[in-house]
Structure formats: structure tokens, C-alpha cells
Symmetry: C2
Subunit: 352 residues, 2 copies
């Protein structure tokens, strides 16, 4: 392990332990990023929903609280075209839930993220703030943006769910690749194919990607404790990225019903569904995923699905229920412990 | 690793390396079992289709060629009831393939294995031959048979695809549990639920089963080389079971078109399908799995699906094609190398 800890990926970033906290839009606090980076890992700030000015301010605020490396994360999806017919079919599917919660069926807000979230303003903000790492999900932004991030010496990360995606990311100048196994919670990072049948478990995927590319590989998916970290290193990974484990930390901004569901869940209580956004994502199964299990063919495209369910999610959480909200979690959810993020990093590192 | 190699599971069986060759009905030769056991691993003889007399003869023949431990394997499914209506629907689905190959549609043989394959004759044969290990798939046989196998001091193994299955097996006197991750090739060992959504990748499943039971755990699924073996040990497994890797060995009795398909396949070319038997199994995708992908709701129950496709499988393989036959393989298929089974055991052990 001493040898592994001296791997170039960690050394270059000033990490002393191979633990990356996954950026989880909506649930990561500044305190979490600081705790992880101060413990020698890499904390990640989700910036997809931040206004550009706030991005540089947030990074500056983090810099004051940690000497460790900081990652900033964005979704890198393409522009989406609405489909009114499909939208109507899907909203009809959701109508009974609107009625149940006493919500007007036409209260849906406009869909967010219908244009790429990473543009000139975001790139300029990063050029000002100079984060150590910029990580993406769902591919990479346009090549000229990648070139500008390279110019400020940011390390660029993105997720691959297949070997072809890993090769694509390397060809498009990614500095390290997150191999996201099928066990992982939240949105699949797939951008060349969303066919789940083509996507592998972490045990099979990580060494295949290690063999296929020259850049360092970060393992993710189903890793919940120090045993998983050690296993990922044995498979050839230079580091691991965990999301679900960090949702249990007090630093996570997790609504109470979601937090309760996390505590009760076991690994095999999760399912992959498209119903929360239009793209496949792993969540703890609840009444909503079961009710719409066979309705996914009617699903609107990403990101229109987010707006379609937003009023339901907000109202049900507010009512104290985890029956409808997306309970993002991976198959390692059963390993979760309610401990501080810094302590979690130390425990994950212990056996590694 | 030295500590691991002295684990009680291996010591009790006289194994010097934590490698188990999976029993793969129809593809394992006596030479393969001998090579694996002579290399310090555990070779497994698939006995599901053997007449009882042949079982004891085969074990006696193996005993003459190796001092190492020997496992004998059986399916442990329950009796099945035919459903003529369902059968007719499924045969209609298959009809175009019969026509294409110029086969009479009514040439299907009677379905094998409609009664449990493990009965009095099999148990008596094992009492005579006294194998070191008896391994099962799809659960366990009736309790009185398990008691008789215990009485001859056979170590009893079976597969779990979920934590509840692992607990069930331990309660029913299994001596060690094979944690079969979703990456694994061939039939899922599931016997309490065949819902794939409830089944985990190896990375998440193995430590959860290790935590849930007191007996030793054997990891399987997506393990293709020494890295995977080391990772499985890190997750807490006492040993690993590999199937796909052994199909590449010259000792495997694999029809040429199947062997060619194995050589060409990458990990993510596999899919889980029920069309070859009625139960979920992972195979390399081919024209047949793609054509019937959306027809699985019409599928007959196990084992009736085996007889339904048997003429197609035989005729297409005979014609040199891998378009229709079940190309059993796990997501680690891309790691396969055409080396002898003994050499494979040594290479898998090397890094562990």
C-alpha cells in the first residue's frame, strides 16, 4: 500500500489517501468538502446548479478552510429538445400522484439544464478560481473548454461505465477515469450507451478499464468500507470515489425522510430507474419506483424528467415521506455509518 | 496472503490455493478437474446429467489421478409442472428458428430435469464414493439428504445471490457459501427470488454476505485474473470460484463455435437472459438473445426451456454457428487466456 499511496495521481494532487468524495448535487455542504480534503482525500463541490459567480466564491471560501485539493463537478450533457407529445403521456402517468398530494397538475416548473450547464461563464469562473480538479459526469464539455481547463493545469476527471467510454474519455484528454460499476448510486455516467446490459459490475469493469487506458483509473460502485477500498486498489485502481457512504455523514444536506431511508436500506433494496430524470440512476426502491416500474418506456428524455417530478418530490419530502422522492444510493448502502466525513476518510484509509 | 492461505476452509479441504473451478455442466472434463486439484485448487465435477453409477465411477477415476480434493456438483431445483398453453406460445416464438434451420417443429425431446436431479440414487452414490465437497446450485436438496452428506463429512457448498439466500443456506447447514455476483456467467444460483434488481455486483455482495453469515464465503462473478482473486480476498472471501476463465483451457469440452465466441468477446458483450432454460443466466449476446430479448415474458418455466431450444442449439453448433447456442460467459470473459487449467490456477494464485 505504501507503494500505491505514492502513485503519481495522488502525489500530483497532494492527496495522502486514495479517497474521493463524490459530488452529489444538492447534498454536499462546504463543510463536507473541507473535511474530506483536510483528511487527505479529495472533496468535490457539485457546481451544476450554482450561478457562475457563486462558483468562484465557493472555491475561494473552500481555499480558506483547507490546504488540500478541491474538485468542482459539472454535468456535461448536450442540449435537449422537448417533445410535447411524450411530455403529455408522462405527465398523465404522474397525474395520480399529483392528485394524491393535492397538487395542481400544471404546477411543474420549467425544465432546468435543457442547455449544457458548462459554458463560457462556468469556464471563466474556473479560470479565475483555479480548482485542482474539474470532474464531469455524462461525458465532457466541448473540446475548447477542455483545452482551457488544461491551460490552468486542472486535472480533468469523468466517469466511464464501459470500456469504449473510457477510451473515448482518454482520447478527449481526460487525466483520469472514474470506472463506475453498476453497483453505484445516483446517475449512471453513461454517455455513449445507456443500455444497462452493456454495463459491468465494478469487479469486472475496473481491471478492464485499467487494461484499456494509460491514464489512472478511479474505482466506484458498491464500495462502502475499507475492504472495498483495498479490493479496488487490488484491481488496479489508483483511487476510489464513494458517494453513498458520505450521505450518512452529518455534513451531508440530506432531508430527514431520505436520511431515514438510507439508514434502513440494505444493499439489495436499490434499483436502477429512469423515472426521476430520464436517465438511468440507482436509488433505494420505494412506492414510486415500484408503481412506475413498467412505465419507463413512456419516460421523457433527460433533463425533462426532473421538472416533471419536482413538485411531487418537494411536497412528499415536506410531508415527511420517502415514498416518492429519489433516494439516491448504491448497493453499498448497507455499509453506511453516521460518522463525520473526516473520520469516514480515515476509516476507509485504515485497511488500505 | 500467507495468513489467508492458512484459513480453515482451505486447510480443512487440503487446498493450497484459494481457487475453485466452477462446475459447468457439459463442459468440464476429467482432465480439467484433475489439473485444478493437482495445482492445489478445488476441481469440480458436474454430475447433474450423470447416471448414478457413473457418479461413483467418475469420482473413483479422479481419485486415481489426484491426491487433491474433489467437488461433485448438482442442481438442486424442485419438481416442475408443465404448462401446455405456455409451452405452445413459446414454441411459436421459436418456430422461425426451426424453419430457418430446416428442423421439424415437433422434434423437441422430452424435458430433462423435471424432477429433482438429486435423489436417493445420487445420495447413495456419494455415500459410496465420498467426495470431499458436494456443491449445489439453485438451493439445497431435501434436509435428510443434507444430513446424510454431513454424515460422510462432505463439505457442502451452494450459491447465494442475495443476503437472504446466504442466511437461508447457513440455516440449512451449508458449510460455505458461494456469493455469486451479477457479473457471473451461466445460471444465476438464485432460489428465493429471481428478481435481478435485488441482486448485487460482486464488490457489494461479497462483504455483505461475509458480514451476514459465520461460515466461509467464496466469491464469484467477474473475477478473471490474479487481480480479481486479490480483490475478492480483500473483500473477506476465503476463496474464489471461476467458471469462464476455465472455459478457455484446452481441457474444457467447448464446441468450436462457442470457443471462437469466447475468444472474441469482451466483458460487456454479455447479457442475462432466461431464453435457454427458463431461469436467468448470463451469456455472450448473439442473434438469438437479441431476437428474443423482448419475448422473455412468454418464456416457459425451468427446466422446460432447455428441451424447447435443444434441437436449435444442437443443429446450429453442428453447422458451425454461434448465432443460437447459449454462449455461457461472465463479465470477466475478456480476461480469458488459452492456457492449461493447472497453469491457470498457478497464475491466478500468483498475485494473491
Amino acid at each position: 500500500m505504501a507503494k500505491r499511496l505514492s502513485n503519481a495521481f495522488l502525489t500530483n494532487l497532494g492527496m495522502t489517501t486514495p479517497i474521493i468524495q463524490a459530488p452529489m448535487t444538492g447534498y454536499v455542504s462546504e463543510a463536507m468538502v473541507v473535511a474530506v480534503s483536510n483528511a487527505g482525500g479529495l472533496g468535490s463541490l457539485p457546481a451544476t446548479l450554482l450561478p457562475p459567480d457563486t462558483i468562484s466564491e465557493s472555491i475561494a471560501a473552500l481555499r480558506k478552510r483547507t490546504q488540500g485539493p478541491i474538485a468542482v463537478n459539472f454535468l456535461a450533457h448536450s442540449a435537449a429538445t422537448p417533445d410535447a407529445d411524450r411530455d403529455a403521456v408522462w405527465r398523465a402517468r404522474l397525474a395520480p400522484f399529483f392528485d394524491e398530494l393535492g397538487l395542481e397538475r400544471d404546477t411543474q416548473p420549467p425544465s432546468p439544464m435543457t442547455v449544457p450547464v458548462f459554458g463560457e461563464a462556468q469556464c471563466a469562473a474556473l479560470e479565475r478560481a483555479r480548482p485542482d480538479v474539474v470532474s464531469f459526469h455524462l461525458g465532457l464539455p466541448a473540446e475548447h473548454f477542455v483545452a482551457r481547463l488544461k491551460a490552468i493545469r486542472a486535472t480533468i476527471l469523468s466517469s466511464a461505465t464501459t470500456v469504449p467510454e473510457a477510451r473515448w474519455l482518454e482520447e478527449h484528454r481526460c487525466d483520469a477515469i472514474i470506472a463506475q460499476g453498476l453497483e453505484a448510486g445516483g446517475h449512471r455516467g453513461s454517455f455513449l450507451s445507456t443500455d444497462l446490459a452493456e454495463q459491468g459490475g465494478t469487479m469486472a469493469l475496473v481491471p478492464q478499464i485499467v487494461d484499456a487506458v494509460r491514464v489512472p483509473v478511479v474505482a466506484s460502485g458498491g464500495i462502502g468500507d475499507a475492504r472495498g477500498v483495498a479490493a479496488a486498489i487490488a484491481l488496479g485502481a489508483s483511487a476510489v470515489q464513494l458517494g453513498t457512504a458520505f450521505l450518512f455523514c452529518p455534513e451531508a444536506q440530506v432531508p430527514l425522510p431520505y436520511r431515514e431511508a438510507l439508514r434502513k436500506a440494505r444493499g439489495m433494496d436499490t434499483v436502477v430507474t429512469t423515472i426521476y430524470s430520464g436517465l438511468p440512476a440507482r436509488v433505494i426502491a420505494n412506492r414510486f419506483t415500484r408503481a412506475l416500474r413498467d412505465a419507463q418506456d413512456d419516460m421523457v428524455a433527460f433533463p425533462f424528467g426532473i421538472a416533471a417530478v419536482a413538485p411531487l418530490v418537494g411536497a412528499s419530502l415536506k410531508a415527511g415521506s420517502s415514498d416518492i422522492a429519489p433516494l439516491w444510493a448504491g448497493q453499498g448502502v448497507g455499509f453506511g455509518q453516521s460518522i463525520g466525513a473526516g473520520e469516514l476518510v480515515r476509516r476507509l484509509s485504515a485497511a488500505a
